[in-house]
Structures are given as C-alpha cells and as structure tokens.
C-alpha cells in the first residue's frame, strides 16, 4: 500500500512540472487532491503495519522514514487548506517522492528481530533528533528551490514573477535560513546523543562510515551557514548550497547506513 502512495506522490510530482511551467498562477486543486489520496494510502499502510505489530510503527529506519514523510504530507494538507498556499504542494511532492523511493530501498526494513532497533531513551533521542534535522533540511531545500524559481522569474520571466503566487524572495531566503539553522542545531544535538551511545566491542568509532559521513555533513551545513553569515554569500549561492548538501544527504544516506558497522552490528 505504501508503494501505491509513493506512485501517487510521483504522479503529483509529474503534475507539478506543469504547474512550474505555468508559474504557479493559481491555486491548484488537482495537486492537493493527489497528495490527499497519497496521504490516505500512506496512512492506511502505517495503520496496517501498526496493527500487525500491535504498537506504534516507528521502530526502525524504514518506519521512521515513513513517519517523517507522513508528517510532511499532513503539514502540507493543513497549509494547503488556504488556496493561496496550495502551490507549496508542487515543491513538496518531489521531496515526498524522493523520501518514498528512499524508504523502499532494500535493507532499510530488515526482517524483524526479537527487539525493535530503536530501544533505550538515548537511541530514541538520537534517532528522533536526527530525523527531525533531516526534515528541517528537507523543508529548507524546498524553500531554496522556491527561492531559485522565483529569482529566475524575476530576472528572466518578469511577467511570470508578478503573476506567481510564490512569496517574496527575501522571505523565502529568511525561511530557508531559519530551517537550516534549526536543522543544524537538531543535527548537532542528535550527533551528540549518538556519540554517547554504548559502542559494540571491536568497532573503531572514528573509522565508521556513518560517523565520518555525519561529521562531514555537519561540517558542510556549518560551512553553508558561516558563508552566509560571515561572508555575505546570500541569495542564489546560499540556496544552491542548501539544495546541494541535501541532495548529498539523499544520495549517500542509504549507502553509508549499509556500510556502517555501528548501525548494522
């Protein structure tokens, strides 16, 4: 059922290409209803899994990813009740599709052991903080794409820029910056919590792929924030940085997770 939901998110993403071409001139019900259908399927998939487990279905990375995407669609559906904000769906659907495809990757949902993977309060805290950080980075990259779209319109398709429902670019940049900042703080706290987790015997902590990757990610986001704050690298450069780093997360998260001994003892 979740696969069907991902297909619907994909259809919404294809539809959003047409909205993009038209320049978001009016609210779009088709996009809203596609995401609503996806949300219903998504919810049904989670409920079904919850009933089969007899507990809340947030026990491993697959389920946590499902939950994160579900929360994102729900947030959009609430925001989209306002017709003038419904265009956000065109930006949200590619992110949802990407997260959905990511969740469906093999080995993310291993056969269940005797215990759930996320046990112990520190592990739960680590997973929750890091997932929230990825959510904030994801939303930040959506804001950055919106910024680049509207900035391009303002420079090239001038009429489209004034007809568009997109917010002012200054506001888009401010929102993106805040989301990245919040994501960075959450990531820092999440990694700090992860650093205090008990380490399996014979594992070299600083040689683990996921630890090195996380440190690199933390540095990349730090560089993006410092470049904006200290060296006035604002506007397009900042937006490209935010999108680039999040693309890096999407492309490498699954691989490093599989390579990590700490995450797959």
């Amino acid at each position: 059922m979740f696969l069907l939901a991902v297909v619907v998110y994909g259809a919404s993403m294809i539809h959003s290409v047409f909205l993009w071409q038209k320049g978001f001139r009016r609210d779009d019900r088709a996009s809203y209803f596609l995401l609503l259908s996806g949300f219903l399927l998504h919810t049904a998939a989670m409920v079904k899994r919850g009933f089969s487990l007899n507990r809340c279905p947030v026990n491993n990375l697959f389920e946590a990813t499902l939950f994160l995407a579900w929360a994102l669609v729900l947030a959009y559906l609430v925001v989209g009740l306002l017709p003038r904000l419904r265009f956000v769906g065109a930006f949200a659907s590619p992110v949802l599709f990407a997260i959905g495809v990511f969740a469906l990757m093999p080995a993310l949902d291993p056969p269940r052991g005797p215990k759930p993977e996320f046990t112990g309060w520190l592990t739960s805290l680590h997973a929750a903080l890091v997932l929230l950080a990825y959510g904030a980075f994801g939303l930040g990259s959506v804001g950055a794409v919106m910024f680049l779209t509207q900035q391009h319109n303002l420079k090239v398709h001038k009429l489209r820029a004034v007809l568009s429902l997109l917010p002012p670019i200054q506001r888009l940049e401010a929102v993106t910056n805040r989301l990245v900042l919040v994501g960075f703080v959450l990531l820092t706290l999440g990694l700090f919590a992860g650093g205090h987790l008990p380490r399996p015997e014979g594992v070299q902590y600083w040689m683990d792929a996921k630890v090195l990757w996380s440190a690199l990610l933390w540095l990349l986001y730090l560089a993006v924030l410092v470049a904006r704050w200290r060296f006035a690298q604002t506007g397009r450069r900042f937006a490209c940085g935010v999108i680039g780093v999040f693309a890096f997360v999407l492309l490498t998260f699954w691989g490093t997770n599989l390579l990590s001994t700490l995450h797959h003892p």
Binding site: Q150, L154, K155, K158, L159, A161, V162, L163, S164, L166, P167, P168, I169, Q170, R171, A174, A232, Q233, T234, G235, R236, R237
Partner: protein, 352 residues
C-alpha cells in the same frame, strides 16, 4: 416608465468638450430638481467625472422625447453655444441598463476594470437619493449595478493586476522584499514617471525616500512632497549603501551606473537584494547589472510589457463579464416587467 441615459465620455468627446458639460458636485441637486420639475424625468441621477458626464433618468416619456429633453437640458444647463451631435449618446432600455452595469464594473472606463468609477457612481447615486430624486425604478437599477460590480470583481479577473508603470514597479518590489516598511527608496532624477513610482512605493509603506536631482531645488521640492530627504546629485552614490530600491530617470546621455561601479557598492550593502527601476530613455543603468547576484533591474519596456499583459488579460475577461451583465440585465428587466404586471392586476388600495 423606463430608464434612459444621455451623456458623453472619453471615447466620444475630447476633454475640452467634456469639461464644458461637467457638473460640480454642489450643482447636482439643483440640476436634478430642475430636470424633474420640467417633467423630463420622474427620477434622475447625474454622474460627472473627469471622463464622463451622464444623466440617468426614469421617465414615462417615449425614448425619443426623453432624449431630446435631456439633450436640451444638458446644453441649457451649461449655456453651451457650440454644436454637439455624435459626442452625445442616448440609450434606452435595455441598452441603458446594460451601459449602467458596464460603467459600474469599470468596463466602460479608460483603464479597463478600474474601480474608482464604482465609488464615483455610488456617490452620484447617494446625492440623488439624499435629495429625493430617485424612486423604485432607479433605486433598483443602481442597487443591481452595484451588486453586479461586486460579483464581477469576485468571479472574474477583470480587476487583477497593475496596468500602470508605477503600480507594476510596486508589485515587483513586493515580490522581492518581505515588507516595504523596512526598505528605503532612492529617486535619481525627478521626472514625472519617477515621481509617480516613488509616490506609489511610499504609499505602500516604503520607509523613506531620498531624492537626488541635478537641480537641488527640484529635489528638495519633491522630497518635501514625499516626506523624504534631498541630496545633491554628486553625492547619490554615498547614500547607496542604505537604500534597497532605486528609481532612475535622469536625462543623462550615458549610463550613470554600470557593473564596475555597482560591484563595490553591493559589497558595502552586504549583497542585500537591490531593485533598480530604470525609466530613463536613453537608459541610465547598464543592462549588464541584471546579471549581478541579488540585483533586479527593470527598464521602462519591462514594466510597460507587464502592464500591457495585465491589460490584455483584462480584455480576455471581457466576454465573461459581458455574459454576467447580459444575464443580470435580463433579470432586472424581467423583475420590473413582473412588478408592473402585478400592479396592474392588483391595484394598490387607496385609503380615505
């Protein structure tokens, strides 16, 4: 009794003629009184704006007699000695009601879809109503006209978008900056369009206006009008670090701002977005600056193209508006017919 209209507007007559037929607001009650006392109309309202002078009347006379009477009244009321023929139009039902509805919706205005005329029409009706010159027929026609105008405004895009250079500039500014109240405007050269644009930005809440002009007196005078500050033309670059919107309209024969000069200024501004409106011909700003990061340059052709496109969109909406108006005119005339028939069938009882 039927509704007729006689008048002249910007399409049928030049301003030199329209101004001779215009009524001052204080003259209207007396004119309406005179019109009714002569038996030309039982109910009447006069709409007099810079673009039109129209008399709406409900009269028991045949249309030809009513038209002749209203024409003579208009000419005599202004002591007009010249000749008028095609400049004056005269419409009877259903065209008169159709015209009233179009006027209320701004479809007969110089700027298609503008809303100012609705306020002026409401004012004309209020004056006639206050002095007791309207009755059931005109009340119904005007009330319906206001309702149609509201419906058209909400259901169509006839009033969407800006159709002047100044208001397009404001729209662009609002697509760049979150809140104009946090940003300052600089006007370089105090030309007419530059002044209108600065005024439009100031009226939408821009924090302050700095005016630089070759004639410092003119700069001071405009700055006073806009509640801003004047600077000498040689010192405008020194103010650049604090402004976010620049309107340039000098008569300089060459570019006064190019990429080489703007790059260090942008560093001073810490790369904050900069909106540059160049309405000078020949252009004041080198088009190359639009390729710079965080600089948004628009010249007069860009702004005019956006305004024209909005206007075209409004024209495209005309058909939908006409359909709504047509339906509402039929509705009103049918209602009037039905109420006349019911009066005929059941005469109002009289009391001793």
């Amino acid at each position: 009794m039927s509704v007729v209209v006689v008048g002249l507007n910007h399409r049928t007559s030049p301003v030199e003629l329209r101004e001779q037929f215009a009524f001052a607001e204080r003259e209207i009650p007396a004119a309406l009184e005179l019109l009714r006392s002569r038996g030309i109309a039982e109910e009447a309202a006069i709409l007099s704006t810079c673009n039109r002078v129209e008399i709406y009347a409900a009269t028991p006379l045949a249309p030809s007699a009513a038209f002749a009477g209203l024409r003579d009244f208009l000419v005599a009321a202004h002591d007009f000695k010249g000749m008028v023929s095609n400049e004056l139009y005269a419409l009877c039902e259903p065209a008169s009601v159709h015209h009233l509805f179009k006027v209320a919706c701004g479809l007969d205005s110089m700027v298609l879809g503008e809303t100012e005329i609705l306020g002026q029409l409401k004012q004309a009706y209020a004056v006639a109503l206050r002095h007791g010159h309207t009755g059931a027929r005109l009340n119904k026609a005007f009330q319906r006209a206001f309702n149609v105008a509201k419906q058209i405004r909400t259901e169509t895009n006839i009033q969407r978008g800006s159709v002047s250079v100044a208001s397009v500039a404001v729209e662009l500014a609002e697509k760049i900056f979150s809140d104009l109240a946090d940003h300052d405007v600089m006007v370089i050269g105090a030309g007419d369009t530059g002044e209108k644009t600065a005024r439009a930005l100031a009226s939408r809440g821009a924090r302050s206006v700095i005016v630089a002009n070759r004639s410092f007196e003119r700069a001071e005078s405009l700055a006073r009008e806009l509640d801003g500050r004047a600077v000498t033309f040689d010192h405008w670059q020194e103010e650049f670090a604090r402004v976010d919107m620049v309107i340039s309209s000098t008569a300089a024969p060459h570019h006064i701002l190019d990429r080489a000069r703007l790059e260090p200024l942008m560093k001073l501004r810490r790369n904050r977005p900069l909106l540059v409106i160049d309405i000078a011909v020949p252009r004041d700003i080198d088009p190359e600056v639009n390729f710079m990061e965080n600089v948004y340059l628009y010249n007069v052709d860009d702004l005019q193209a956006i305004a024209d496109d909005y206007l075209q969109q409004r024209r495209d909406e005309m058909l939908r508006c006409e359909e709504i108006i047509e339906e509402k005119v039929k509705g009103l005339l049918n209602d009037c017919l039905a109420s006349s028939a019911s009066r005929f069938a059941y005469p109002t009882p009289t009391h001793a």
